[in-house]
């Protein structure tokens, strides 16, 4: 009897632990530093060193490793990707549609023209003649709310 009960209890505990998966990372975002994403992107260089907290609806999440999530900006059609090193934080796919707060700094990655148009093609957008700049937000702490 014991040989059956023990594995059942172990599996049960693991399944129940699903409900306890943390929605805050590294203590949660610092809500005193809130800044709209559009403002952050308008002054991108400034916020590469000055930590701020951004807020937005989670519109996409890395399906495989949960290493990034995309937040909707306060400005229409604008988004910002929150990116961590694999394993530093794991964003659940079920966070889509929830509101996320992330505290950290902005990283600026200039793209080549080829990279720019590859990304635009993936987004079903028309090609352009000038290379664009990729903005990634590197968080130190995150909170995801329902």
């Amino acid at each position: 009897m014991k040989t059956i009960v023990t594995p059942i209890l172990m599996i049960g505990a693991l399944v129940l632990s699903q409900t306890t998966i943390a929605k805050t990372y590294n203590g949660g975002a610092d809500m005193s530093k809130l800044l709209p994403i559009s403002t952050l992107l308008n002054n991108a260089q400034k916020y590469t060193t000055e930590p701020v907290t951004i807020k937005g609806t989670v519109t996409r999440v890395c399906q495989k490793r949960g290493c990034w999530m995309q937040l909707a900006s306060d400005k229409k059609f604008q988004t910002l990707r929150v990116k961590v090193r694999d394993g530093d934080m794991v964003f659940p796919m079920t966070a889509q549609g929830k509101t996320a707060f992330a505290t950290g700094t902005l990283k600026i990655h200039p793209l080549t023209l080829e990279q720019t148009n590859q990304r635009r093609k993936a987004q079903k957008l028309e090609p352009v003649d000038t290379a664009q700049v990729l903005h990634l937000f590197a968080p130190v702490a995150v909170t995801i709310k329902d």
Binding site: L14, V15, Q18, Q63, K64, K76, V90, Q96, G97
Partner: protein, 185 residues
């Protein structure tokens, strides 16, 4: 009790204790190794529907209610977002996302469900629980080191590692060494 018998007893009991953790790391290890071929965290199902969207004001509560009724979804919209000029997203409460393509009169229903058990195993393997799990994992790793070393002293004489079976130990070292030599440049 002699040290030989003590070693065998400890090896047996610690081995029993490590079964659960070993299964957690072994199963999730395979799952994570093949995450690009098989998403072991989530089951994602997508179904496409042809629904007239062009010419409609899709940014209204009335439209959303009608759409959910048409799709026979008993759920609520918790957020909405224009992904780009051609794609409007509706996020539902129950881990469902609707992709609306007004130009194509198409609605894609994407449902995300964490996989039974594998999601939890991966959660542990990737240390999403952070500090407490890290210390427990360290403890488990120390026990594994003990199991490996104590295994050398399980059988005395030439029937143990001093005999032909010692080649198995060498093979166990040779395999990772070969990978380092061939792939680390």
């Amino acid at each position: 009790m002699s040290w030989f018998k003590l070693n065998r007893s400890l090896h047996r009991d610690i081995g029993y204790f490590c079964i659960g953790m070993t299964l957690v790391f072994a199963i999730s290890g395979i799952a994570l190794n093949h995450i690009h071929q098989f998403n072991s965290n989530y089951q994602v199902t997508r179904t496409s529907h042809t629904i007239t969207l062009s010419g409609l004001d899709i940014e209204t509560d009335h439209f959303e209610a009608t759409l959910l009724a048409t799709l026979q979804l008993e759920d609520k919209v918790k957020a909405r977002f224009w992904q780009d000029q051609t794609t409007y997203k509706l996020f539902l409460e129950e881990d469902t996302t609707l992709y609306l393509y007004p130009e194509q009169n198409e609605v894609l229903v994407e449902q995300v469900e964490p996989r039974f058990l594998l999601r939890q195993l991966n959660f542990l393997h990737l240390n999403e629980a952070r500090a407490a799990w890290m210390w427990f994992s360290d403890f488990y790793a120390i026990l594994l080191i003990y199991l490996a070393v104590s295994a050398l002293f399980m059988v005395k004489g030439k029937r143990g590692v001093l005999g032909p079976r010692g080649l198995l130990v060498l093979a166990g070292f040779a395999a990772p060494a070969a990978f380092i030599i061939f792939y680390s440049h």
